[in-house]
């Protein structure tokens, strides 16, 4: 059997931490903090190594008016990725990120492969 096709060893693809925001929270991607309509704010930088990035998973939905989105698009709007600098293991940060007040759930992003078998 040939094993499934996984990432090549020299790949520069990084594995992020995926998180889902609690309802009412949003990311300010420019300044890298989370906030609510009521003014609550959480700044995560102290928990992350330098050069980490926090981005919406689907940027195209991030700024959309929720009233014009379907239920599942609104759900998709809540997903965020924490992309760590090279050499950092996402597994080392998952528990910490789960404790952030804005986070509903967090996990290491799936490392995808190709479902070939033969």
């Amino acid at each position: 059997m040939i094993p499934p096709v996984t990432l090549p060893a020299n790949s520069k693809v990084r594995i992020p931490v995926d998180l889902k925001l609690k309802p009412g929270w949003r990311l300010d991607p420019t300044h890298g903090f989370f906030e609510t309509d009521s003014g609550e704010r959480f700044t995560p930088h102290k928990d992350l190594p330098k050069n980490s990035r926090i981005v919406y998973k689907v940027p195209g939905l991030a700024g959309a008016d929720p009233s014009k989105l379907s239920k599942h698009e609104r759900d998709l709007q809540r997903y965020v990725q924490v992309i760590l600098p090279p050499g950092e293991s996402p597994a080392d940060y998952v528990d910490l990120i789960r404790k952030w007040p804005c986070v509903a759930e967090a996990h290491t992003a799936p490392e995808m492969s190709l479902p070939q078998h033969g």
Binding site: Y79, M112, S113, P115, Q116, H117
Partner: protein, 500 residues
């Protein structure tokens, strides 16, 4: 050891699998005119003009007048005769009556050399002039016949074009049920080749320059993974669906559909949700998204991508736009109905058609005589039973061939120096099964648009395939949990499944 050289002009090479042909490149030679002089015309020629004794000079002059209109690079013997032999033909020709028969005039010097001396090559500098020169010379008295020399190509087996072999006979999945999906049988119906439908394949890389793929397959987003394995995979997937039916290579199930591709790597990380969302924004109702990915689930086995919430939501959102999403179930031999998956996307309906891998019919690789030496795949189980590695459960809707599918890439069926002419008869897994279903969906939606003016909603497409496909066979060798399978899996087998 000295490096083994490929013989000059050789159009194939020896590989571990045997001798394989490589693409034939037409040699860069100019077109030229072959002029057959009449036996009885006492005309000879030099490197630049025709010539004749005084009595026959007008005949040679007319030939030269015709050639004077063109830029002629060379005039030479078609058989490579020396000038003395060419000059000698004048004396013999002068003694011959009109239309002499060679067998009657051997004793007058009308031998083989004389006959060959009447064949002249006229080589124009511009190949486009060859046809015009031939037409003009055909009207001259000294000429029996003039024609543009044919361009030879390598002799190929019947039905094959120059270059790659014709692998269509090995694509059993195209043909009649219960072995195939019956696609070829409905291609004559308007729209049933997928016309008007766009398929977006989401994975990691593709060889979009493959000789058997249409040009213009656009990468609409993401960054490709620069790796041969990923490139072969994407190429194989596209080949099953849209390879060009032209008596060489393979024929795609829905070869009139348009394909676009999106890498799952977005901003340097895997992000299938973004890829699905971007694809959905680029597509319209009736189009198809194919998710050719899997990832490790909580049991350490590969599972379908809708396990993850963001991807599940992205699929639902795409389906709500009328786009049919086809998703590989994955190769983890995992039971999606286990308690560990309660509440996850593996036990909820995303609207996608989730595809498992089934055992192909026992005889498919024997078409056209190749493949006989392959692993005895029949040990996988009876045809149309679940292959042991395929995931299963209530959300798995249909299955396709999951073993030794003939398509593009890899090079085991046909190799060569260029990936552009690589073919395989070993593409396997839910990877090979999913494009078969995707192609069937494109055929169905193309037909629906042609006949009804609008495509079917995704839930009807899925129901249609599940209800009309050839039922799955029970039994799966090597699958410990095969008896847990309760999904109404079926192959898309009936011709009716594509006929509206």
């Amino acid at each position: 050891m000295p490096k083994k050289q490929q013989a000059k002009g050789q159009t194939g090479q020896q590989t571990k699998e045997g001798f394989v042909s490589t693409r034939f490149e037409a040699p860069d030679v100019p077109d030229y005119v072959v002029v057959e002089l009449r036996y009885e015309s006492p005309v000879a020629f030099t490197a630049s003009r025709f010539s004749a004794p005084a009595a026959a000079a007008p005949k040679a002059d007319k030939l030269n007048e015709a050639l004077a209109k063109y830029d002629v690079a060379a005039i030479r013997s078609h058989f490579g005769l020396k000038s003395a032999a060419v000059r000698a033909r004048v004396e013999v020709a002068a003694t011959l009556p009109p239309e002499p028969a060679p067998e009657k005039f051997k004793d007058k010097g009308m031998d083989t050399e004389f006959i060959q001396s009447g064949f002249v090559q006229v080589v124009p500098k511009n190949s486009r002039d060859a046809d015009k020169i031939a037409k003009e010379l055909n009207r001259k008295e000294a000429v029996w016949k003039a024609y543009v020399a044919p361009r030879p190509v390598p002799a190929m087996p019947a039905g094959a074009a120059a270059g790659s072999r014709n692998f269509e006979p090995a694509q059993g999945y195209l043909y009649a049920p219960p072995n195939g999906i019956g696609a070829a049988e409905v291609w004559s119906l308007a729209g049933a080749k997928g016309k008007g439908i766009t398929i977006c394949d989401i994975e990691g890389n593709w060889n979009r320059q493959h000789e058997d793929l249409p040009s213009g397959i656009q990468l609409i987003g993401g960054t490709v993974i620069n790796d041969l394995g990923w490139r072969n995979h994407g190429t194989a997937v596209l080949g099953e669906m849209i390879s060009i039916p032209n008596n060489k290579g393979t024929a795609g199930i829905s070869h009139e559909a348009k394909a676009i591709v999106h890498s799952a790597v977005v901003s340097g990380v895997f992000n299938a949700a973004a890829a699905i969302n971007n694809a959905a924004n680029a597509l319209s109702a009736g189009d198809v998204i194919l998710i050719e990915l899997q990832a490790t689930g909580p049991n350490g086995k590969y599972v379908a991508m809708q396990f993850w919430g963001d991807i599940f939501s992205a699929i639902v959102a795409a389906t709500a736009k009328g786009i049919t999403v086809v998703e590989a179930a994955g190769n983890g031999n995992e039971n999606f109905d286990l308690a560990v998956f309660n509440g996850t996307g593996l036990q909820k309906d995303s609207g996608a058609i989730v595809v498992g891998a089934g055992v192909p019919p026992a005889n498919h690789v024997d078409f056209d005589g190749f493949g006989a030496s392959l692993t005895a795949y029949t040990s996988l189980g009876v045809p149309r039973s679940r292959i042991f590695f395929s995931n299963y459960g209530k959300i798995v809707n249909v299955q396709g061939w999951g073993w030794h599918v003939t398509t593009l890439g890899y090079g085991d069926a046909q190799g060569g120096a260029s990936e552009n002419s690589w073919y395989t008869l070993r593409f396997s897994g839910t990877s090979s099964a999913s494009p078969i279903i995707t192609g069937a969906v494109a055929c169905l939606q193309g037909r629906a648009k042609a006949k009804n003016g609008s495509p079917l909603p995704p839930n009807k497409v899925r129901k249609f395939l599940m209800n009309t496909g050839t039922p799955q066979e029970p039994g799966s060798r090597g699958a410990a949990n095969a008896e847990h399978r309760t999904a109404p899996e079926s192959t898309v087998g009936d011709q009716e499944s594509l006929t509206l």
